[in-house]
């Protein structure tokens, strides 16, 4: 396939459709469609702190110290889902809700047994279909509903935050049902309606939710065929389903989904189990999957009609604000709420340190909060600052900084290297800040909010308010992105507290400053690496320790002789959690930077050095593709003043990526990324348009923490609280982009929301070295202080 790369910026970003031929999709300009993805980071699982998760997993056992091992049966995708949910549902400090003294009486007032089931399919799910859970629903009716108008409504517990799930699920159902996508309607993440498909994390929707949706749709398709065969008294083999209807092979008679839905038997038939034997469409016969289907609700996005969580309005609704501490760990000692109470229309609630105000307008609520904030007295405690962060993390590493066990290899090596790498805290800062609208009605709590974990937030609410699950409904409208930052339900709980106090629905939307300060962060990393080379430039040992940031992509994909890669906890000064790609960015930044250092020590070209240590054919393919399309050999040799080229590769979550970049050092000694050539492979491509957007979005998003984004804090106070001081990528940061999607129809589809972000930072650092001969081992990568 011909590389369409061009130096003409307009052509690079301009129109033109994505080309698919052979196995590589090369397109400087992404094709049509919609998407972005969300994700996490990992911490030591705490079964002790989260007993309900272990219980839910069923066949699990505690090994003490909070470790849980699942007895995996069959190693299915669904078991993977459980493991992923465990991995991602691990924030540092689970919020312990213990407020309100009259819980018991409150429950008594509510009475028991009011069920929020509002649809026949959900009822079926309750009665016989199983509750779902990460294993998904058992019955067809819990997954899809066939309307008498022929519209097929598919229900799914995953969320849409821009990553493209809605389009992919629609395609999955349409493909197996043999209907156009316009005949499929998706209901996502309304806990009153949909099955629990687990959290929307870990690039999991494509590998773990698309298959069960396909299976349910294929089961429904078979039902239609069986039903038609029976009705016509013909052999089942003489009926095929195509163009939205069952057709007798002689071609005379047809029966549509609408016809089926109108029959008396439909409800009973749909209430049967999803058949594991219903045949899925092979990739070679895909007509809807594998195509660049647009996000189904695109029109509502461009007209402003779509209601994001922060747009939801309920009758009589008030706007709420919550008092925040001036710094982490500060405790409220006193406050005078009288000035707010004196304001016309303002409602104030105080429950120990939780202070909230509500008013008919958010401006008035803010004025009321300002008035009482001035009277608040706080007891602060000393906290670390970002200046001392990395020493602090090392000092507090659990078990200390682990020693290299391969001292023998080091002593007999031709060359040995040891270096420290660092990654600063980053913030997701999705454009829609955390938001929730809560409404209590007849003892029922409904919350509209943005979260990647709707059923988890429902659990949080039941714990917080001591009410049964069937009294809580969490609805997640398609929301303004997360990138791993919206796993928790703190905003939902706050809004519900305010609504309870006001006796009216309350909308709570965090400010940008709150989002920068009180949302959790991508963890900072302190990484130590030591490796040895023999006289032939081959790696003989490798010792790698990640302190604080996580174990994602911890293991090296290279052949590295004796090796040990470890992750150790520290005592993080900030509340940290998931972020697109988890620690795979930090671990690839350190590993790929260090591989470059080792290549230089061995006197080898960075590409040759990597390939000499790399066997994995999928990773080799993307690395070679990116290098070839970029013209690595020539560009690495021919150095131009103020320009540099670098490369990096890596694998995570079952997908493979490599990036070659060209950077420029400006007169002001700033680094500017001029060109990124990235190859990416994630098995069979489900939606090339959406995939393109995931990949280019990840690359550009990754430039932020690579070059500029850094959370600065002093004594527990976050100093980067606006887009002025925390500078995310903008139009001016857009480099020339060549994206090469390697399609592997022979392999299962993996998710793509995260992995495309992991190579950009190390490739930039390596390009800086190529340009000015200086190794920068910290993110953000800067030549100036």
């Amino acid at each position: 396939m011909k590389n369409q790369s061009t130096k003409d910026f307009k052509d690079v970003v301009g129109g033109g459709d994505c080309q698919i031929s052979e196995d590589v999709i090369s397109s400087p300009s992404p094709p049509r469609s919609g998407g972005l993805e969300l994700l996490g980071k990992q911490r030591k699982e705490s079964a002790e702190r989260r007993p309900e998760r272990a219980e839910r997993a069923g066949a699990s056992e505690s090994l003490g110290r909070g470790e849980v091992v699942l007895r995996v049966q069959g190693g299915s995708q669904l078991d993977d889902q459980l493991a992923v949910d465990r991995e991602y549902n691990e924030l540092l400090e689970p919020v312990d809700y213990d407020f309100g003294l009259n819980r018991r009486s409150f429950v008594q007032i509510l009475g028991a047994g009011l069920l929020l089931v509002v649809s026949a399919p959900a009822l079926a799910q309750e009665r016989g279909g199983g509750r779902g859970g990460p294993r998904g629903p058992k019955n067809i009716s819990a997954r899809l509903h066939i309307g008498t108008d022929g519209i097929i409504t598919v229900m799914c517990g995953k969320v849409e935050g821009g990553q493209g799930a809605r389009a992919e699920f629609t395609q999955a159902a349409a493909e197996e049902l043999r209907v156009p996508t316009s005949q499929v309607q998706m209901i996502l993440s309304d806990t009153g309606l949909v099955p629990d498909d687990g959290m929307t994390v870990g690039s999991g929707s494509t590998p773990r939710t698309v298959p069960p949706i396909r299976q349910a749709a294929a089961s429904a398709r078979e039902l239609l065929a069986d039903f038609a065969a029976k009705k016509w008294s013909v052999d089942r083999a003489n009926v095929i389903v195509r163009d939205s209807k069952a057709t007798e092979s002689a071609g005379k008679r047809t029966l549509s989904y609408a016809d089926f839905a109108r029959s008396e038997d439909a409800a009973n038939l749909l209430n049967q189990a999803i058949s594991p034997d219903a045949t899925l469409t092979p990739v070679t016969e895909w007509k809807v999957l594998g195509t660049p289907v647009l996000r189904p609700n695109s029109r509502d996005i461009v007209t402003g009609a779509h209601k994001y969580p922060s747009d939801i309005a309920r009758p009589g609704m008030l706007y709420g604000k919550v008092l925040r501490a001036p710094s982490f760990g500060a405790k409220l000692t006193s406050i005078d709420v009288a000035p707010a109470k004196a304001m016309n229309g303002v409602v104030v609630t105080q429950d120990e340190s939780f202070v909230g105000v509500m008013a008919p307008t958010s401006f008035l609520a803010e004025s009321a909060l300002d008035a009482i904030s001035k009277t608040a007295k706080w007891e602060t405690v000393a906290q670390p600052s970002s200046k001392e962060l990395f020493d602090y993390l090392k000092q507090h590493a659990e078990g200390g900084v682990l020693a290299n066990p391969f001292t023998d290899e080091m002593s007999k090596a031709a060359k040995g290297l040891r270096q420290s790498y660092q990654v600063a805290y980053a913030q997701h800062t999705p454009l829609e800040p955390r938001a929730a609208v809560a409404e209590w009605k007849d003892g029922q709590l409904s919350v509209w909010t943005a979260t990647q974990n709707p059923f988890g937030v429902r659990s949080e609410l039941t714990r917080a308010f001591h009410i049964p699950e069937d009294r809580v409904r969490v609805i997640v409208p398609d929301f303004g992105a997360a990138y791993g930052g919206k796993h928790t339900g703190e905003t939902a709980v706050e809004a519900a507290r305010l609504a309870q106090a006001a006796g009216k629905p309350v909308s709570l939307r965090w400010t940008r400053e709150e989002e920068f300060t009180w949302a959790y962060f991508r963890p900072a990393a302190a990484i130590e690496i030591e490796a040895s080379l023999d006289k032939d430039g081959k790696l003989t040992s490798w010792h790698y320790v990640n302190i604080n940031s996580g174990a994602a992509a911890l293991e090296s994909p290279y052949h590295i002789g004796q090796n040990q890669s470890r992750y150790v906890n520290s005592k993080p000064p900030l509340r940290h959690g998931s972020y697109r790609g988890l620690a795979a960015t930090a671990n690839n930044f350190a590993r790929e930077g260090f591989m470059d250092e080792l290549a230089a020590a061995a006197g080898a070209d960075p590409l040759d050095f990597r390939l000499a240590h790399l066997e994995n054919p999928r990773l080799r393919t993307v690395l070679q593709t990116a290098a070839e399309k970029f013209g690595w050999k020539l560009r690495a040799k021919n150095k131009s003043p103020n320009l540099g080229v670098g490369l990096a590769c890596g694998t995570e979550k079952g997908s493979y990526v490599a990036a070659c970049v060209e950077i420029e050092i400006t007169k002001e000694n700033q680094i500017r990324v001029r060109h990124v050539c990235q190859a990416f492979e994630c098995g069979a491509i489900v939606n090339p348009g959406n995939l393109h957007k995931q990949v280019h979005g990840a690359i550009i998003m990754g430039i932020g923490p690579a070059l500029r984004e850094e959370v600065r804090f002093e004594n527990g106070e976050i100093q980067t609280v606006s887009f002025r001081s925390y500078q995310v990528p903008r139009y001016e940061d857009l480099p020339e982009l060549d994206i090469h999607l390697v399609n592997r129809p022979d392999l299962p589809s993996a998710g793509a929301g995260e992995t495309p972000i992991i190579c950009i930072a190390p490739a930039i650092a390596n390009a800086v070295y190529h340009s000015v001969g200086k190794r920068i081992r910290s993110m953000p990568i800067r030549l100036t202080t």
Partner: protein
């Protein structure tokens, strides 16, 4: 002290009696239920809240409602002509330009204003004019393509 503000929103005359210091954004969203215009930062740094005031792009989060008195405001809800999308909306949709879509309304309104001044923008023009708009999903390449498509379409319709 409340003030009475009369202004035109999407071609209709509207009157609100409210605190004149309230941001135009809040009045649009909370009083007029025009929630297509988004809050992103509250300080004019991200432009998710962009609306047109007398045809010019403004950040409604830092525009006091008092300053909108007797002015004409166009929001994303007022852009389409019945069922027919504005060429910029159509281009953004055809291109599948957005990911989460939260910045899209602001991006579209900013584009409408830009194309009035520069009917055939270069990439450099787009970067210069649109740089104040943040897309956190970083769908900038698709937005660039959509803006060029919108410019072509607008010129075609004018011709």
């Amino acid at each position: 002290m409340d003030a009475t503000i009369t202004f035109t929103v999407n071609g209709k005359s509207r009157t609100v009696t409210t605190d004149p210091k309230r941001p135009l954004l809040d009045v649009l969203r909370e009083d007029l239920q025009l929630t297509g215009t988004k809050y992103g930062c509250g300080e004019g740094q991200c432009r998710a809240c962009t609306v047109l005031m007398n045809g010019k792009s403004v950040a409604s989060c830092i525009t006091a409602i008092a300053d909108a008195d007797k002015q004409s405001i166009l929001t994303i809800e007022g852009l389409a002509n019945g069922d027919k999308l504005h060429p910029v909306q159509q281009a953004f949709m055809d291109e599948g330009a957005f990911q989460c879509g939260y910045c899209t309304a602001g991006m579209i309104m900013g584009t409408v204003a830009m194309l009035k001044d520069i009917p055939k923008p270069t990439d450099a023009d787009i970067v210069s004019r649109m740089n104040r708009h943040i897309c956190r999903c970083c769908s900038y390449p698709k937005y660039m393509a959509a803006i060029h498509r919108a410019a072509d379409q607008t010129r075609k319709e004018a011709a």
